[in-house]
């Protein structure tokens, strides 16, 4: 690593075995033009303090492991660079609104349970044997759900959502975006099964369209649009549910 400069990184530390609450610790880290924030943390762990705990894996912004708060903003540390913060310093904290497991690692179980609850899989109209070949799906049909399928489950949007922070019962941006992804897929007919989740207070109705979720999404998914389009869908369903003929789709 061609080292050009040093930067100060302040890290929130919390150890469940010994600490009653988190506290900050500061490290000085050398960096080059291409050094990512993640590599800065790896430097600390390799050379300064092996006990610093954080998750990482792919280093290319697709596995969704390394989301953290960098100077108060949710971000993937593998694709943020130390040079962007120099000559200032960095304050790195675990993703906001999620319980801290240890240091920079948060507890993800709540999201995983919510993801499972939305039935995130194709519910087909009728079972089709593999031998019958693939479903036909035009590029236009695919485009109707595709952006929502690009969610990497990094939880940055949960760290961005104050409503989730205030009430973790809220299903949250990513789970609702994925719910919308399946409801919008031409191969799926599971919408009726998923609408009760949407219609609940903990579904779309806990959202006040802060909009920060879409702002911080590293993959250009727009969870806010998924949630708020479903408010319209849920509202229409609320008023017109008794008028629609019950049958095929129920």
């Amino acid at each position: 690593m061609a080292t050009h400069d040093e930067i100060e990184i302040e890290v929130l530390r919390y150890h469940p075995e010994t600490d009653s609450e988190p506290s900050y610790r500061t490290y000085r880290v050398p960096f080059a033009h291409e050094t990512s924030v993640l590599q800065g943390l790896q430097y600390i762990k390799d050379r300064l303090d092996g006990s610093l705990t954080f998750r990482w894996s792919c280093r290319m912004a697709i596995c969704g492991s390394c989301g953290m708060m960098i100077n108060g903003v949710p971000n993937l540390t593998c694709s943020a660079f130390l040079r962007e913060y120099h000559p200032g310093k960095l304050r790195i904290e675990p993703l906001a609104h999620l319980p801290i497991e240890r240091d920079l690692a948060v507890d993800q179980t709540d999201f995983l349970e919510k993801l499972a609850s939305i039935q995130p899989y194709i519910i087909p109209a009728e079972s089709k044997a593999v031998d019958e070949g693939p479903f036909t799906q035009t590029p236009a049909q695919r485009e109707r759900f595709y952006q929502y399928s690009e969610c990497i489950n990094c939880l940055l949007c949960y760290a961005a959502c104050p409503q989730y922070g205030l009430d973790s019962g809220f299903l949250g941006p990513a789970a609702l975006a994925l719910l919308h992804r399946y409801n919008s897929d031409s191969r799926d007919v599971g919408k009726a099964d998923r609408m009760p989740i949407v219609n609940a207070q903990e579904g779309v109705w806990a959202c006040t369209l802060v909009g920060y979720c879409s702002e911080v999404c590293p993959k250009g998914v727009d969870p806010a649009s998924a949630v708020n389009r479903n408010k319209v869908i849920s509202t229409l369903d609320y008023f017109f549910r008794f008028m629609a003929p019950r049958g095929a789709s129920e």
């Binding site: 792919c58 969704g64 035009t138």
Partner: protein, 587 residues
């Protein structure tokens, strides 16, 4: 120690592990499946695969053609009956993924679209833009949530197998969040633990690709096959090793040296065509394209970059619209990591370690030679990749053989004898004690230093081109690192979420994998596929080495290297020919 009684344990939550879990659940919903992964499944390295997955689908294509390309691509070190099964089942599995929701890219009429890939005679690579692995993994993960019999143990680190009476009867794992030990008693175990790219310093792999399953199996006397064949992907970013998919070249990208010259024409891959010709130029197999870089580099025709020499991957002529449709993530990565717009400027690339062709020996049904243990995916060597894997065969492999592993393990679990709880407890206690000893040990060695020394030794000695002298040096260094490993000292002696501790355990596995690679390489005195020598063994030697290597662990000594024959049924060994003279099967 906590105890979990289950029927089938699957270690690894990537594509192969998830496909296996679904297969068990579909084969027999009464079987309890424990899916153990050191990360939450969608973080697994399958997520990073970009280009796509092979499956014959076009009318002018044929299974024979896919078979031929795979066997020739593997320099004939492939188990031909297994390849036969593989090519016959790829498309089926791609369709299955489609039914489960995988957003494959489509043609205008709504049919599946396919792209060209290196070493393939025709376009047969199914793709979801350039996030194929990501979409496959998330499709499998989300689909797996349907099955009530699949119980996930996310962020559980597999420490060891439990082997009693010559039979695999479970595993020992550490719950990462607490550091608590868990004993999983199972009638069948599937390893789907992925590759070992982290043996090398510059690789395309995720941090978790540390060869854990290979290392664990190896220590229990299971053979590691063909470990000397390590694939360098020709187009990775200098320094970081981040992958620029072969799909870039499948879509028509050029590789040029510092003079702007498409140098691959000088390495038997010509003629130069303006648009992609299968199996020629940039669509050559990865081993040959990476080797061509090495020669260009030696002759001073590469570019100097701050992070090492490179050539240019030039996509400009494809146009912005096509780049954004077919290669959006490449555009995004080039922008993020290099500040380059591929529609405006070429991308500097160089080879980086990408894939372990070898792995845990299995038969064509994914059974290892340890009863009760199965293996699938990159950690395994089921026999389809030979000496060089073709791009897009590995995503197909994880689903084709993940399914086989699930079905076979389900069958084995139903037939298995009762578990001897007393003996498994004893075995598990021993594993736990050795892990705790690592945590407590005092010493003067720093983890990162040991890792760096190992990786550098492998890159220098067991790289794209190899010599006896270099490999011997690497072996010596590895033995020294192994020795120093017992004096590693941890900063963190606590139990909860102690990633330093787990990384040390991983390094132990990685180190064993590195040794299997280096010693296997040293003893193969020929050049074949990804194993190329410079010291008088530049030619393929079918007479002596049309054989798989088998590395076995030996207590306190280097691995023992054995050999076994290659099963050849319909395609006898011949010269590998690419470029204008290449055989285009099925055309």
């Amino acid at each position: 120690m906590q105890i979990v009684q289950t029927d089938v344990v699957i270690v690894g939550g990537g594509g192969a592990g998830l496909r296996a879990a679904i297969a068990v659940a579909e084969a027999d919903p009464d079987l309890n499946v424990s899916l153990i992964s050191k990360v939450v499944p969608m973080r697994s390295h399958t997520v990073a695969a970009e280009g796509g997955s092979a499956g014959v689908v076009q009318t002018e294509d044929s299974l024979d053609s896919h078979f031929y390309d795979t066997v020739a691509g593997g320099d004939w070190l492939c188990e031909q009956p297994v390849v036969d099964y593989f090519v016959a089942n790829c498309t089926r599995e791609m369709v299955q993924l489609e039914h489960w929701g995988c957003p494959w890219s489509r043609k205008d009429d709504g049919d599946i679209n396919v792209r060209n890939f290196g070493g393939m005679s025709t376009a047969r690579t199914w793709f979801a833009a350039d996030k194929s692995g990501f979409h496959i993994l998330h499709t499998l993960f989300q689909t797996s949530l349907k099955y009530a019999s699949v119980h996930r143990f996310d962020e559980f680190f597999c420490l060891d197998l439990i082997v009693v009476d010559g039979r695999c009867q479970g595993i020992v794992a550490i719950e990462v969040a607490t550091g608590e030990f868990f004993r999983f008693e199972a009638r069948a175990v599937i390893f789907a633990t992925g590759g070992a790219g982290r043996v090398y310093p510059c690789n395309t792999n995720a941090g978790i690709s540390t060869g854990d399953g290979m290392g664990i199996a190896f220590r229990h006397g299971v053979a590691l096959r063909d470990m000397e064949f390590v694939q360098y992907h020709p187009t990775a970013l200098p320094g970081s090793g981040l992958l620029m998919t072969e799909g870039c070249r499948g879509e028509g990208g050029y590789l040029v040296n510092k003079d702007g010259y498409r140098y691959l024409q000088d390495y038997g891959l010509g003629p130069v065509d303006p648009s992609p010709r299968p199996k020629a130029m940039e669509l050559g197999p990865r081993d040959k394209v990476s080797q061509a870089f090495w020669h260009e580099d030696r002759q001073g025709r590469t570019l100097e970059t701050p992070l090492g020499t490179a050539v240019h991957l030039d996509l400009r002529h494809l146009g912005r619209a096509k780049l954004l449709e077919r290669l959006p993530m490449i555009c995004e990565m080039a922008e993020t990591f290099l500040g380059i717009d591929p529609a405006e400027a070429p991308i500097p690339v160089r080879p980086a370690v990408h894939y372990t062709m070898g792995g845990i020996w299995t038969d064509g049904d994914t059974a290892t030679n340890l009863p009760g243990l199965f293996a699938a995916g990159e950690c395994s060597s089921v026999g389809i990749h030979g000496a060089n894997r073709l791009g897009s065969n590995s995503l197909a492999e994880i689903v084709v053989f993940g399914k086989v592993a699930g079905e076979q393990a389900a069958r084995a679990a139903r037939a298995a004898p009762a578990i001897d709880a007393r003996a498994t407890t004893h075995e598990a206690e021993a594993s736990m004690q050795s892990a705790l000893a690592l945590l407590g040990q005092d010493g003067d060695q720093r983890l990162a230093d040991l890792r760096d020394t190992m990786q550098t030794a492998m890159e220098n000695g067991v790289g794209i081109y190899r010599s006896a002298e270099g490999m011997q040096t690497a072996c010596q260094t590895l033995e020294k690192v192994r020795n120093d490993y017992s004096r590693v000292r941890l900063d963190d002696k606590s139990r909860a979420f102690n990633t330093e501790w787990l990384t040390v355990i991983e390094l132990g596995f990685t180190l064993d994998v590195a040794r299997a690679m280096a010693y296997s390489a040293l003893q193969r005195t020929e050049s074949r596929g990804a194993h190329q020598r410079l010291d008088g063994y530049e030619k393929r030697d079918d007479e002596h080495f049309l054989k798989h290597s088998l590395a076995y662990a030996v207590a306190d000594a280097p691995p023992r290297i054995d050999y076994e024959g290659v099963v050849i049924t319909k395609l006898p060994p011949a010269e590998r020919v690419y470029g204008g003279m290449a055989r285009q099967e099925g055309h």
